[in-house]
Amino acid sequence: MKAIQREAIQTVLDQWQDKALYLHLETTNGAYAAHRAESPMAVCAYIRNGKISYERGTVAGEGPYRIGLKMSDGWIYAEGLTDWEIDEEGRLLVAGHDREGRLAIAFELSETPFPL
């Protein structure tokens, strides 16, 4: 992964507008957050292979970045994004990493299901 280039991600989001896509969206502060007293509790949410399509997708911010996908009947939102790549399988992988390289948020789109 490399540091986010906003225009490059925007180009991908524009290409995939109105397409049927699979979403992996995840945020976490780590299963040991409370144990290590880094936070009052461990918090994590993820959805893997949510089937979605959006009518408007936008990258915003100056870094860390945000992505918002406007759907016909809802929204998808991610904040704290720092790095990205298009992987070998043509999937859009975007993530937010902290100073220790730990993943805090992942936002991924693919035309085919992510493996389980």
Partner: protein, 220 residues
């Protein structure tokens, strides 16, 4: 012949806090079978600087696990193919079926797993619960003893002093090599450890932590 079965949900669970004990077993000629439930697909550590992505992490962690097994002398690795963070939501009877089959096959005298309910990570508790279910199905005279690893900070308050305290200083190099094998997960932590070791007080604390492994026998 003696045999030890190790049952954990994530690659690296067999190493942190337990690698020295496993190395003692394998070095004394006791074969060790490791059941690893998931590939730690949802680990937060990606290396430091990060080199894994959410999508490459499972393959990377499987390789790291195999390397750590080589270091520790574990020649029998069984992957259950479960998914990180979902163990507690699977049917525990079905996970117990798979563990039971392996118990009946390798006939261990000892099973290492997390101490039920004191594993901190929900997958730890899911896996230890399934392990206890499996052990309860074995006729009493053949039942292996469960050596539980308690993680919660209040473990001693809840279950008392550990039944087994192993000094693993003689195999510390092996343990550190196993930790390094789990590079994506250990890199940041080991860098911090090296830094803390510069300070004499920190050095004593870290060495005590690394050289001591504690287990509680779980009554079945």
């Amino acid at each position: 012949m003696e045999h030890v079965l190790v049952v954990f949900p994530h690659p690296d669970d067999e190493t942190f806090g337990k690698a020295g004990t496993i190395a003692h077993y394998t070095r004394s000629g006791t074969p060790v079978t490791l059941i690893c439930g998931t590939l730690g697909q949802l680990g937060r550590n990606m290396g430091n600087p990060f080199f894994a992505t959410r999508e490459t992490l499972p393959q990377i962690r499987e390789k790291e696990l195999r390397d750590a097994c080589d270091v520790l002398g574990i020649k029998d690795l069984r992957l259950l193919g479960l998914r990180d963070k979902t163990v507690e939501f699977e049917d525990p009877e079905l996970i117990a079926d798979r563990i039971e089959a392996i118990i009946r096959e390798v006939k261990p005298s000892i099973i290492m797993t997390y101490y039920p309910k004191l594993g901190v990570h929900p997958d730890h508790d899911g896996m230890s619960e399934a392990t206890v279910r499996a052990v309860k199905r074995i006729p009493e005279e053949m039942r292996p003893v469960i050596h539980g690893s308690a993680v919660t900070n209040n473990a001693v308050e809840v279950i008392g002093d550990p039944d087994i305290v192993n000094d693993v200083s003689d195999v510390l190099d092996v343990k550190l090599a196993a930790m390094r094998a789990h590079r994506s997960q250990s890199e940041a932590m080991m860098a911090k450890m090296e830094k803390d070791r510069q300070d004499p007080e920190g050095k004593t604390k870290i060495e005590k932590m690394l050289n001591t492994e504690r287990f509680w026998i779980y009554p079945v």
